[in-house]
């Protein structure tokens, strides 16, 4: 498999606090990779480093063979990295349609009208509910719908890499199930690699092919998703111990 994203030994500091300490993660083309860990382990920091919001103190972030460490965050969106932030963060007083169209803002080649509406329709076919609500303000959507909008807003730029930060956060179990089915569908149909950060380790490992476990800013464990699921240490710490067959 070709490597799409290669994070090499990145160190990230917030003032005196070290959030990431020599973390290396790779994502292959069209691969789903899960990053797991407790609160404060550095999962969100890792995604924010990839999308350029936080510049690492040292280390390299190589995307499609190019070091992105000095590229401003707003340019990365147009170069194939789309980030769905934690808590969805849709623009609440903008309409659903305006939210979606803004997702294409960074993509310069997508400025002609036909292409824009084709991409818009593509998102509506993935998430029909958004089409129904396209003129509604985004703040009036339910949590699940907002998550779909946030994912749609990221996908509309046709990224090569989708960064998902806690897509299941604060959603009802039935909606969580729907969101994860959606992630698998998107992965299959849109040919996009996904780096997903989740507290819901079991769900994330089920859709991922490989996983990394972060502890206090370091990679504690990495491997194939299937191996991680059956690893006794992982089961004890992140999958709710011996509760067999529990989803």
């Amino acid at each position: 498999m070709n490597i799409l994203l290669e994070i090499q030994n990145i160190v990230l500091d917030y003032g005196a606090v070290r959030a990431l300490d020599a973390v290396s993660v790779t994502v292959g083309e069209n691969e789903i990779v899960a990053v797991l860990g407790a609160n404060g382990a550095g999962k969100t920091s890792l995604l924010k480093a990839v999308s350029g919001l936080h510049k690492p103190t040292s280390g390299q972030i190589i995307f499609r063979g190019k070091d992105m460490a000095n590229t401003p965050a707003f340019e990365l969106a147009g170069q194939g990295i789309a980030h769905v932030p934690e808590g969805r963060r849709v623009f609440s007083t903008l309409s659903v349609r305006e939210n979606l169209m803004l997702g294409m803002y960074g993509v310069r080649r997508a400025r002609d009208k036909k292409q824009l509406s084709a991409k818009e329709e593509r998102i509506y076919s993935l998430f029909p509910i958004l089409k129904e609500r396209r003129n509604q303000l985004a703040g009036t959507l339910s949590g699940g719908e907002q998550q779909m909008l946030a994912i749609g807003r990221a996908l509309v730029s046709a990224p090569a890499l989708l960064l998902l930060d806690e897509p299941s956060l604060g959603l009802a179990p039935i909606i969580v199930k729907e969101i994860f089915e959606m992630i698998q569908k998107i992965h299959k149909e849109e040919k996009v690699a996904i780096l997903i950060v989740e507290q819901n380790a079991r769900k994330a490992l089920k859709v991922a092919s490989r996983g990394y476990i972060l502890e206090l800013g370091r990679v504690a464990l990495e491997g194939k998703a299937a191996d991680l699921i059956s690893n006794p240490k992982v089961r004890a710490a992140y999958l709710g111990g011996g509760m067999e067959g529990c989803d």
Partner: protein
């Protein structure tokens, strides 16, 4: 009835100054969460630059372009110069202190206001200046017994065209959506590819540019300008911003026009001396009973 209509037209005229200045407060607040206290002084700067172009060149501008052409030319130069001043204010006073938080920004804004006011005084002097009557057109119509000056019509037309243009840009274009998105959530705006620095550049050019043109029109209308007039106009335009709903573009326009009409009716029917008192009572009443302003309705936000 005639008096009422005349007062409303007077009110709309001064209200359009407030509205243009309020737009600048509102746009900057939206994106930076900062009340730009230097904004009123940029309005004054516009008035003085306009005065210098029209008066000190002893009619060269109006001789070459005709009276209206000369004023339009002056407005363009004033708008662009004050826009440039706005960009400089952001670079010098706000960008360096932005990481230190909002309180530092506000203190820096107050300092910038004092600096600008004193610079204007140092350059043009402490005494009020008068726009020469030769360059200020005076002609008026009488429509159904209501007196309307040509200048009022021009001021209203220019203000409404500018406001319609801003409304269109902010509410109907992709760039406008990026401005509104940056105002709501800078980090997420960056993530989806919006260059927030460009948005900040835009609001600090456009807001002061409009304020400068309003300052010039104010000078043409009242003819007398002074270095410290920005303080009073700034506070009133700020009141208009709060009244309409801060951060809300149509709200700033509505708030400005309403405040102008209100002030003018008070001056006509109650007392000219008390009008400012009532204007600031509006500010206090709005802040107590409807701090989001007339149009600043909060949307239901689900988390």
């Amino acid at each position: 009835m005639t008096l009422l209509l005349e007062q409303i037209i007077n009110g709309l005229t001064i209200g359009s100054f407030y509205a243009l200045v309020a737009l600048g407060y509102s746009m900057v607040y939206g994106v930076m969460k900062l009340i730009n206290f230097a904004h009123g002084d940029l309005f004054t700067l516009g008035a003085f630059l306009g005065y210098t172009i029209l008066a000190s060149t002893s009619g060269v501008v109006t001789q070459n372009f005709g009276m209206w052409g000369g004023i339009a030319f002056t407005a363009a130069i004033v708008g662009m110069s004050v826009a440039l001043a706005g960009i400089l204010v952001e670079r010098i006073a706000y960008r360096p202190v932005y990481p230190s938080g909002r309180l530092s920004l506000v203190v820096s804004a107050l300092g910038m206001s004092i600096f600008l006011q004193n610079s204007i005084m140092a350059i043009w002097g402490a005494r009020p200046r008068a726009f020469p009557s030769a360059v200020v057109p005076y002609a008026r119509f009488v429509i159904f017994g209501v007196h309307v000056t040509v200048l009022q019509i021009i001021i209203l037309a220019v203000s409404f065209i500018l406001m319609a243009a801003i409304w269109f840009i902010v509410e109907k274009t992709a760039f406008g959506a990026s401005v509104r998105a940056s105002a709501l959530d800078r980090e997420t705006a960056t993530l989806i590819g919006i260059d927030v620095r460009k948005v900040i550049f835009f609001v600090f050019a456009l807001g002061p540019g409009l304020g400068g043109v309003a300052g010039l029109m104010n000078g043409l209308y009242y003819r007398s300008i002074s270095f410290n007039m920005g303080w009073n106009y700034g506070l009133k335009a700020f009141t208009a911003t709060i009244l309409g709903g801060i951060g809300n573009i149509p709200g700033a326009m509505l708030g400005g026009l309403l405040l102008g009409i209100f002030e003018s009716l008070l001056a006509g029917y109650v007392s000219g001396a008390w009008k400012d008192v009532f204007v600031f009572i509006i500010l206090i009443v709005t802040l107590i009973f409807r701090p989001t302003g007339i149009l600043g309705e909060k949307t239901a936000e689900k988390v």
